[in-house]
Amino acid sequence: MEHDKLSRLLPDGVDQRESDELDATWRMLGAIEAPAPDSERMRTRLDAVIDAVEQTHVAPQPRLFRTYVLQGLAAAAVLAIGIGIGWFARPGGSAFGGTRPTSDTGSAPEIAAMRSEMHDLREMVSLSLMQQQSASERIKGVTWTGQLDRPSGEIVSALLETLMHDPNVNVRLATIDALERFAAREDVRRGTIEAVQRQASPLVQVALIDFMVKTNERESVATLRQLAMDPQVNDAVRARAAWGLQQLG
């Protein structure tokens, strides 16, 4: 519904996919902190925010603080982009009583700028979600990286960090799927090999072994051999590692 209106509004320089992404981003932003402007709920929301900030001071949690700053920045970026869209989308150039010509010849660089801002914004949303207290939100952040066109190194580092240190098994599992598209990167190959050795959860270990087979990660052979021979390791994991060796060998 919104989506249809948006696509009609967007000039020719912006394709369907892009407007889809825009739509998705707005929905995403709506899903984060969205205080309604009625004062009663604003108040409780505000209290919640104050509580959360207090908490960061009691037990220092710089991550949480960063989340709020990021969300603020994200909101500001959307504001800028929204104004941009409004400007481009003026029917016949008559909005604000402006006299801008109706042709879109001059808008290509602006669209490019908008696109890059859009990209930064979506990265920010992903990173901020990956820092949340709730495991479901962190999974959302991890999955969201799958929709980024050319994710920066920061996104890949955040995914690797999550794979190594996230306390929740299901968040780590989701991270393995998200890392698949970066399997060619050296840091991802090293990170996954390190993770399979340190991992406490057998299900995550199996998923990592599958990842290595799927992405033909030949550097992992020594590690897989070690896992297959280690009597301390879960039997199913040892069997999977042996199978992985066979596939890679």
């Binding site: 104050i50 909101a75 104004i83 299901n170 698949e180 879960n234």
Partner: protein, 305 residues
Amino acid sequence: MRNMKRILGYVLTLAALAVPVSAQPSEPRPPEPPLLPQAPPQAPAGDANAQRVTIPLSDPSRPGTVEMDIVMGNITIKGTNRRDILVDAHTGTGFVPRPPRRRADDEPPPAGLRRLTQNGGFSVEEDRNTVSIDVGPPRHIDFTIEVPLRTNLKIETVMGSIVVEGVEGELEVESVNGSVALTNVGGSVVAHTVNGKLTATIARSAPQQPMAFTSMNGSVDVTLPAAVKANLKLRSDQGDVYTDFDLQLRRESSNPSPNPDVDTRRNGRTRVIDVDNAVYGSVNGGGPDFEMRTFNGNVYVRKGK
């Protein structure tokens, strides 16, 4: 022009939101509220090895959070109409050898004497709507906890099962050597067990929130609302996947690999099924990702009422 106004409306709303949110961290902090006095554990009459603690929430109008991470013991959590949290702890059924000279917990005190030490060996603390339950040195304690209907949970046990009934919120539940059973729950669920069966009946799912239900050595059996909108990621390495949902199968995962360095042939359909035996599909038009996965066992996804 109408659309224009609509867009401007969005932009202004977002601007209005941006200001308070971004301004928050620099606001002066109000003074810390004093910690609520903790109610000492009291034994319910007639049961010497049970202890009961009721603890209020700082702000009952907001959902509280219950956090616990124990080593030995079963955990049962029930959503009720109460506004505080009731913790019932039951010891004495454990398989843990006790220190040799310690009196048995369920032994009645000698005539005329009353016991001063607490046999519970656990503590309950509330801080800004988060209730943390801690058990001291590893011993077997079973917990039955009553919480308000809307409560977030972060519950872990190593040797024990977890049951959650009628709670709505962000539910994070994990067991190592026990089953996990969630009935009539709502919100978002992220659940895992290593050596147990995982069953869940979701009455209402939170929109746009991903969920995950995974096990290593047990079946995963999840009932979702019939109208749920979700993208399902289903896999069983050594078993099968069953559903009565009308699943629109997708050939690739939600993370397509645009990376030219990865050999796409190896990521093609047959290869994916060979490696992880995964099924990706959407129900009711798709939505957030729900992952159901087990290594040894079947995955069942059922359509609820």
